[in-house]
Symmetry: D3
Amino acid sequence: MTTDTTQAAEASRYARGWDKLREIDGQAGERVVQALADIAPDFARLLIEFPFGDVYTRPQLDLKSREIATVAALTAMGHALPQLKVHVHGALNVGCTREEVVEVIMQMAVYAGFPAALNGLFAAKEVFAERDREAAGAD
Amino acid sequence: MTTDTTQAAEASRYARGWDKLREIDGQAGERVVQALADIAPDFARLLIEFPFGDVYTRPQLDLKSREIATVAALTAMGHALPQLKVHVHGALNVGCTREEVVEVIMQMAVYAGFPAALNGLFAAKEVFAERDREAAGAD
Amino acid sequence: MTTDTTQAAEASRYARGWDKLREIDGQAGERVVQALADIAPDFARLLIEFPFGDVYTRPQLDLKSREIATVAALTAMGHALPQLKVHVHGALNVGCTREEVVEVIMQMAVYAGFPAALNGLFAAKEVFAERDREAAGAD
Amino acid sequence: MTTDTTQAAEASRYARGWDKLREIDGQAGERVVQALADIAPDFARLLIEFPFGDVYTRPQLDLKSREIATVAALTAMGHALPQLKVHVHGALNVGCTREEVVEVIMQMAVYAGFPAALNGLFAAKEVFAERDREAAGAD
Amino acid sequence: MTTDTTQAAEASRYARGWDKLREIDGQAGERVVQALADIAPDFARLLIEFPFGDVYTRPQLDLKSREIATVAALTAMGHALPQLKVHVHGALNVGCTREEVVEVIMQMAVYAGFPAALNGLFAAKEVFAERDREAAGAD
Amino acid sequence: MTTDTTQAAEASRYARGWDKLREIDGQAGERVVQALADIAPDFARLLIEFPFGDVYTRPQLDLKSREIATVAALTAMGHALPQLKVHVHGALNVGCTREEVVEVIMQMAVYAGFPAALNGLFAAKEVFAERDREAAGAD
């Protein structure tokens, strides 16, 4: 295999990941990639290729279930609030209702404690307010 | 309100939680409650009343989504493998396929790292083997 | 048992929790409940009922020891600084001295590392300053 | 200051820590130090000098409160069950009752989730059984 | 680009990762991959492709520094002892001395607390003993 | 041994730690110590004596490797971003390049997940910008 075809295959994986990132996270995902441009552009590429190109494109689980899993995990871990906000957008973008997102975060009080759930709810509250402002501004 | 009626209401919440615990976790959940009997019976009661009586009975999210959230969180947290095994049972009991459970755990490599996902997969492997043995023994 | 008496019993548990929340956390606790009102009012209720109605009202441990345990845990967990600040207020409200609160947080350097202890001390510093300002303003 | 006096001062700090370690953790603490002898003897020295020589000897907090804080933190952190068992011994050695130890661990369900509390309770159960066996054997 | 060439490029990435995995982790790494074969073979592939094919092959950091970073992180995280053991092997395989590995783990007492460092040291002790047995058996 | 010589030995340990803190962390370290002055001056002393006086002065590992280990651990732990920023300074002060620091943080995506690595990279980005401003201001 020539270097050209290897690069083409990598480009395909990148393109597949980029499409999936945009489908799920929308502008919030793009902003993360842009913020990495001057400090670690290679990490932006890995972020597109592995989570989105390799994992989220797998057919074994629907996107709504994937986002429920991610919102749960990011809430439970506690130190990932910026990423939780991106994936609250993501969950809403792929079909979860706000009520479902809130319910997933609330359930985390059982497994990770009330502080993790509280911080998760306040992060979701910011995302909901942001989306309300954008919806109002789009009128 | 008399003490009698308060106790009756608490008994109702307990009964509701116990039914939900059995529906989701089956024998694996009952074993946890039994193991608490001599050290902290009050904690067994709280475990039935709050997570199962108060949270899992809420209609805002279907049980399959709840178990996906819980499997994700317990995998990501990393220190909750015994509970993860109970909820791998739970996820299968409420309608997830083994493939979906594996996929949720795999996805956690993105958010909590490969070690957490690996330990989660090996916990699921033990549960699958246990269920295969029980299915074989039931013939 | 009628639905009315069940609701009454739940109301009693809620009232007991609300009293305990106010006794321990004072205004800092009330602000958390208010902040949940528009995003997850049910979670505010669960927060009052389970931690405060079910756990803190138990007679097996005095409130000062409970707050020492909570300050220690929230410091050690590292991702719960807003809640740590609420419980630094709580510890002082139920009889701990500032010196004792500082000492509990310092001790966490042994178990959770110096970063967790440092972040805990700076959170306590903010609470002490807030209380000083309020005491000055109350003159 | 000569090297001799420096070494003498360090020896004093070590001796102070060793006495405090034995007072709190008893044989369970000594076994940890012995287990380090062939892999990291310097770490055994640091363990005696810093946590026990520097921290636990400070007069700002009584030993019972210190052990309550430590049991809470080790339960909440989730990955420190061997150390939790040492400090369940420690808490009992400095005057906590079994009921108080159980209560502190139960309370962690609120802050760190039910899995952390469950694993903590089962660790305490093992320590209580060990102490019962030793008490029976001592007859 | 045809599907054939895409598959070829992926195969190349896999082969590069597999070589790097064997170089670093040796038999300990291969055993992890084998243990995944029946539960999640796709995860074994991702494990080879992303961490080893994408990350460890990058020229920006030498392998010894990479293993020091990994041993530090796995010790500090606390819930990754099986993976820590694999990477203690890895660190020794790429040129760290036992003394250096012990020192990295000891240092984690400062950042993640003494329990994480203790558990890390005991994991390293097992790896050293295993390598001593294999060296003796190879005579 | 008299109290005077004990105090002298402790003073020596403190001085050794202070020199090492300044060598590694520079002004960022000094600012931490100053911020502790009014809330917990004893903790500032312990911070100088144990991590810097006892651990970083040990000859078993070079300072560059120590800082790689610390940057890795603080990134992976996720709740220690202020301390990570101090040690990004530290790593650069003892000879790491910016590219190496970025690479260590990127590698943490494998072990602690992409959110921890992302937050670490953004912390490093702030430190690099701060150093660029200071370099520009020094002209």
